[in-house]
Each structure stands twice: as structure tokens, then as C-alpha cells.
Amino acid sequence: MPKVKKNWKTDIYYYTGVMPEVEAETLPALFMKRAREYADEVFMTRKNYGIWQPYTWKDVREQVRDFHYGLLELGLQPTETVCIGGENEPEFFWAEYAALAARAKIVCLYPDMTPPEIQYILEDSDAVYVVGEDQEQVDKVIEIRDQVPNLRKIIYWDPRGMWQYNDPMIMDFREVQEIGRKAAEKTPGLFEKNSESVQPDDMAVLSYTSGTTGQPKGVIMKHVALLDTAYRSMMHMPTKPFTNYLSYISPAWATEQMFGITIGLMAPMILNFPEEPETVMQNIRELGAELLMLGPRQWEGLAAIVQARMLDAGPVRRLFYKMGLAVGMKVAVARTENKPVSTFWKALYPLADIMVLRHIRDNLGLSKCYYAFSGGAAMAPDGFRFFHAIGVDLRNGYGATEIGLLTVHMGNQFNLETLGKWYTSHPYFGDPLEYKISEEGELLVRGGSGFAGYYKKPEATQKAEPDGWYHTGDAVTMTQDGEMIYLDRVKDLRKLSTGYHFPPQYIETRLRFSPFIKDVIILGDENKEFVSCMINIDSETVGRLAEKRQIGYTTFADLSQNELVRGVIQEEVEKVNKNLEEGSRVKRFVNLPKELDPDEAELTRTRKLRRGFIEKRYADIIEAIYTGKSHLESEIEVKYRDGRQGVVRHATFINDTA
């Protein structure tokens, strides 16, 4: 296992490999270059009439040109904002390329945003045009348009349901293109000229933060920032030209701006658009997507499909599946934990692959996928390992809209605890990417094209970058191998009496990943000098383990305090400790002699811990932990189902970790 690296130190990683030549400084310039180079190659496909219909670079260029001229005819000025909303479809991308070529900036809406959310974004971003997918999106904008006086036109590209809207403000995408086509005949060459006039420091995209704390902020993404990030990715994980990419994550999420939009132009990739959101899984399979960027929920969804289908399968198939996956899992676990694989399992793997794993990959449409990427949130280890077991190299990554992609699992390193190694930025775009971890444990970053600020929010910008470093707000730690581990949001860290900040959430989730642990209460605050925890063992899995090892036990209390069980839990705690800083490690733990129970108000009905209540109830145990006792005779009042009261009296052991 990787060792933890010392803190408060700046590391710089210079990339020593081949430095690619920077081909363009803006997206429109890159678009033009590619359209010249690959005019007759396929750039986009969409499913229509049940068949994948290709658009060549030439086709796309024409569509973009017409819409570009159309927008200009309507009166779009440089630096104005065009808002685009809807599902991922070619028109979405065309509208973006067209607006960018006019030196305008764009802002995107998630298809499921509510009218008030849309209103906020339209107002805050000073949007003058909305390009929406269909009736649903248009209706939402109509609802709030009176509050957004700057809005000049609402353009839709799916005419379905729009047959009876007689509103001068609403226009069909094709109508705009028609106007544009006429204008293009009058002043040819303007599209090319405009595209070349875009400056690297022009704002390209405003990407709104989720706004979990206060109002959403529009992060300014300049052309140079998008290209910077794309080069970072291309330098470390080169994307093959004409990689089949399924554009599924919303361009309103900065990640799709980096992948679908920018790397799409750079590689260039073939952008495939799902027919409907419901057909995505089917479409991935039809396409044999080669690069997939999905959120953890979607990856877990894929894994769930397999598990659900196998439940319906016959006993023979199930047996083969189980055996094949078991072999894959053995190899995957070793691989994701960076340990050598035993020869036995290595020898069995090709057989398992031929009989089971390859077919699962094929059924999920992952057989051609050479770059699978998960980002945005943490993924449960089981889900992550499942993909490695079936032979898909799923990689974790980390980045911030404000400063681009920062880390990713590179090469053959797939430690699922980490977010991978640091990217090196291309020197063309600025100083090398640097980071440091502040005393509070916060990740600070600078370098590359840098942080361009929040739109019209100088105070928030100042707060995020007060000293030349961009403050991510994320608490992280580095392993010995230079891989980053995400702990928590900094504001969620807790402080010990020593002044040290530790990540309770992180420790709790990692411990709960253990099959033997059901619930965990992490202890440690300003009155305590080290971290400890109380564990509610999972009676079912631990019980089964006890049976297997032929250990007799009577009650839950008896089982929880069994020497072997305590040993097993200790191993689990120590496993988590290994990825933690010295100060955050769990020094002592107790297996609770009684299960936490919603009936006794220890948990809410949705199984959330009621920390205050629990800490009061088990005060004697907590006291014993922090006074250095090795065991105590705990007495816990319990209420039985029939209303009787009783007391559970049991010797409870306090365990010290290594």
C-alpha cells in the first residue's frame, strides 16, 4: 500500500515526455483548422430513423456557419452571452461553436432545471439569446422571460409541439439558419474572419457551480483554459484520433466542455449523440464507445444492469458468471491495490475472460472502451472493482471547473482510494501546475492558464484566490507515490484539541465500505486529542464469518466482543488508517455491544446517526476510550419491542490500533 507523504510542501511535476505542438489558441480557430484538415471525415453521428446518421466535418461546418450568420443577423454582438439548454444533440454543439465564433460566450442549462434556476442563470450571465431543445425548454423560458428583459429571442431546434406557438420572440433553429444562409451569400468569408478574430483570453463558457453554499457562481472558462485542460489530458492519456465518444454528460457540467467540446475538436473524436436519454445504454453498445466519461451513478447503473440480469439467469449461467467474476475480481483487487497477482489466478484469467468477462464487456458495449473515466464524486469500491474485474480500466480523476483537470489515474495505476497523479500542464499556457496543502489541509493550486474568476463576482473571486493560489475548498492528502486522496470539503473537517484537522466523513465512509461494519461513530473534537470510533458490526456478515471459523457465540454483545471479531475489525480499521495522515488515524475503537436501533432513537428512520444522542448514551464508553482504559463493564438500557425495559450488561473491550 502507498505510504502517506509529508504535508505543507510544494511539489512540482514536470512532464518529461514529448510536448505536443499547440495547434490553436481558441476553439473557433481549432474548429476551422480541423474542418479544413478532415472535411470529409465523420465528426458527429446521431440516430435518426433507427440508423446512425453521420455528419462530416464539412456538414458540421456548414451547419455552424449558417447558424453563426443567423445569430449575427439577429444582432448578436461580441462578448454577449448565448444560453443553450437541452439534451446532448448535434444542434447543441453547433449552437455553441457558432456563438463562440462570433466572439460571444455561452452558458449551458441542464435539461431538468426549473424556471427559477433558469431565470437566475439568464440574469446573472446577461444572456441575450436562449437556444433550447424543445417545447419543454422553451415553455420554461417563456414562464420567466418577463423577468429577463435583456432576452431577445428564444430559439428551439426540435419543432415537436411548437406548431401553434405564434410568438415573435420564438424562432426555429432552421429559420435562423435560413436567414444565415442568405447572409452568408451576401458576405462570404465573414465566418472565417470572425473565427480567427477570437482571442485566447476571451471568455468562452460560463459554467455555474452547483451552489450548495449560497447562490451559484458563474465560473469563467476562457478559450485558453479549455485548451490548457485538453492538452493536459492529451499529454498524459492521448486520445486517439477518431475515437468513438458518446456525448452523454451535460455540457452544463464543465467536464463535457473539456471532453466532448474541446478534446472532441482536438483529437478529433467522433461525437455520437444518444437517441434519447433512455436509450443511452443501448447506444453505448451499438457504438462500441471507445471513450466514456460518466459519473459514478451511471457507472454503478451499468454494473447494476449486469447484476439484475444475472438474478434472472438460470443456475448454470449463474455459476459460470460467479466463477468468472471471482477470477476477475481476484486479479482486479490485486491490480487496484497495486499488489502482485498470484500465478494461479493469472493463469485462470484468460479462461475466465473467454468464457465470461469478455461477454459482459460486450453486452455492456465496453469491449472497445480504452479510456473509461469517472469523476465528480466518490465511487463505492465494489462498483469500481467490478469494472476492473470485467477488464475495463476505469479511472478516477479530479478537477475543478475553476482551474481544470488536475489529477487522473495514469498508466497502470488504479488505486481506487486515490484520484491519481497530477497532470503537467503544457508550458505554452503558463507556469507549471503547482499545488500545496495548507495547514488546514486544503488543496491550493496555481499554474497553467490559471483561475479566471467568477463572472461579475469580484469578492467571491478574491475569496477563492486571495494569494495567487486557487483555494479548492477540498481537503486532500498525497500518497508516497504522488497520488492524491480526496478527504472532504475543508469546512467539514473537525478540529482536535491539538489543533489538528481531520476528515470524519472520509473515515466514516471508508470504514463503512467494509462488509463487516454497519455503522460508525467517529469521535474526536476540540476536547479530545486523538481520533477514535465506535463501531456497530454487521451481525450478519460477522456472524457468518464466526460460523465459518467455528466460533461459538450467544448474543450480539457476545459476538461483538469476541477476540477474533475484534481482530477482524481491527484489521479493517488499520486498512483505512494506512491511507490517512498520522494525526487522522483512528487510535482506538470499540465494538458496540448492542446494535444501533431507530426504535431507541439512536438512528433516524432513514438510518442516519443521531450523533448527539449516541454520544450521551455511550458516555461511559467514550470516557473509557479517552482515559486509556482497556475494558469496562458497560450498562446500556434497552427497550424491547414489547415495551419492556431491560439492561444489557457486558464487558466491553477497547482496542488499540497498531
Binding site: 430513423y49 433507427g50 415537436r160 409541439g161 437517441e275 434519447e276 433512455e278 436509450t279
Partner: protein
């Protein structure tokens, strides 16, 4: 919609139908205008389905006549009516359960198929071209009814609401001049009902096909119909705009009983 200027597409005159001594329909007259949604409502046993069956040719009326698009069709057999442009969907779904949604819709194209058995057996130029043309129509319907995700699913594996949609798709594949729907919302949940209501409105708006709707759900009827006709014990007791019908005392009497 101003019905006065509209062309009458379907005209029912003094229709009567009896089963033994039971009068299912007594002297019912009705006009359907081009481009409208007409709902036929009434309590159980009012004769709604009997009327629809007369329109689509499953029953022959004892008296009266039915004219469609200026042509007398009272005694026309069902398949001729389909060719004339009358399509209907069923209350209990009548689909090919072992076939995919797409194939079910394609089956609705049969009246438009022109190639013969030999040509089809060889599956050469003519058949190939024809198949492509029909597939194009079917795909348009799939897009229209948002069935992309179930295109290749076997109908037997689909839920009830989706089967209803396939049924509607097959009816549309006839490219009808009028669509007759027998309780399209029966047995659906609220979301499925909303979807279906939207599709019916879309059919009216985009395809400009008049729809005759037999429906129990009063909310749906008042929301989407241009006009409503009310049957009770085989008699037409009222006809008019939905809001008028809801206030009509004889309609209230038929539904709720005497005050």
C-alpha cells in the same frame, strides 16, 4: 375552433342497433368535423363501444347510414374501411405480442404495400425499396410517439401503457384520415395518461387528423376535446363544447342520477 366553417368528415345519421330486444343505439346522429377531437362519453352500457364498432365496421347497424369523406360506408367491410382511411385503437389491446414494437407498427403499413408475393419472396429491387419507404414512415411514428427506447423490444415484454402506445402507432401507420380510439386511457396511471393526452393533441396539431375518442376519464375529456357527445341508454342526450356539457342537467342526471 369554429366548427361552423369546418368540413364534415364523418357523418352518422339516425343510427340504430339492437341485440335481440336490447336497443344498443337508438336514432343516433353525429357529425365529426375535420381536424377536431370529438369525445363520446356516457355511463356504462350507454352504447359508446357499439357506436365505435358501427363506425369501424365490426357491427352492421339495423337502420341509419354512415358517410365518411363524402362516401357511404354503412355496409363496407372493415378492411375496406381501413383502406378508405379509418383507423382505430382498441380498448383491450390487440397486438402481435411476439413481435417487436417496430414490426407491429410496420404491420399497420400492409394496406399501403404494393409488391406481390413473388416480388417479396425474391426480396429484390421493388420489395427492398418499398420496405425502406415503409420503414421511414414507421420510424417517423416512433419518433412522434417517443418509442425509440422500445423500438426493438418484443411487445409482450412491454408494460400496459407502452403497449397502448404501440397500438396507437400501428393505427397511425395506416396514415388514416380519421382516428377512432376506444378508451385509450383505461388502466393507465396519471403519467401515462398525460403522455397519451399529449400524443392525441399532437396528432391533432401536427398530423391534423380528426380523432373520435371514447373515454371514461372526464378530466381528460374536458381537457383535450373540442366537442363532446353524450350517450345514455343508446340515445344521444347532449352534444357541445366540454364546458357546456359539464353543466348540462341531463348529462349530470345520466352520470349522477336525479337530484
Amino acid at each position: 375552433m369554429d366548427t361552423a366553417e369546418k368540413k364534415v368528415i364523418l357523418k352518422v345519421e339516425n343510427l340504430s342497433l339492437t341485440f335481440g330486444k336490447v336497443a344498443a343505439l337508438s336514432d343516433v346522429s353525429l357529425e365529426v368535423y375535420d381536424g377536431e377531437i370529438l369525445s363520446v362519453i356516457g355511463p356504462n352500457g350507454a352504447g359508446k363501444t357499439s357506436l365505435l364498432n358501427c363506425l369501424s365496421g365490426f357491427y352492421r347497424p339495423d337502420r341509419g347510414r354512415i358517410a365518411f369523406d363524402g362516401q357511404e360506408i354503412t355496409n363496407m367491410p372493415t378492411h375496406k374501411r381501413a383502406e378508405a382511411g379509418i383507423a382505430r385503437t382498441f380498448q383491450g389491446i390487440q397486438l402481435y405480442l411476439g413481435m417487436t414494437a417496430l414490426d407491429n407498427i410496420m404491420s399497420g403499413r400492409h394496406i399501403h404495400m404494393r409488391t406481390n408475393f413473388i416480388q417479396n419472396a425474391l426480396y429484390w429491387v421493388w420489395s427492398d425499396r418499398e420496405e425502406t419507404d415503409h420503414r421511414l414512415v414507421a420510424e417517423d411514428i416512433i419518433d412522434f410517439l417517443e418509442m425509440e427506447a422500445i423500438r426493438d423490444r418484443v411487445v409482450g415484454s412491454l408494460g400496459y401503457g407502452l403497449r397502448k402506445r404501440v397500438d396507437l402507432g400501428r393505427a397511425l401507420a395506416l396514415e388514416p384520415k380519421i382516428l377512432i380510439m376506444d378508451e385509450p386511457m383505461a388502466g393507465m396511471n396519471v403519467e401515462e395518461k398525460e403522455d397519451m393526452a399529449r400524443f392525441i393533441l399532437d396528432i391533432q396539431e401536427a398530423k391534423k387528423i380528426p380523432v373520435v375518442l371514447v373515454e371514461h376519464d372526464m378530466e381528460v375529456v374536458t381537457d383535450i376535446s373540442n366537442r363532446v357527445a353524450v350517450l345514455d341508454w343508446g340515445f344521444k342526450i347532449a352534444e357541445g363544447r366540454p364546458e357546456e356539457i359539464m353543466r348540462n342537467p341531463s348529462v349530470i342526471k345520466a352520470y349522477i342520477g336525479e337530484e
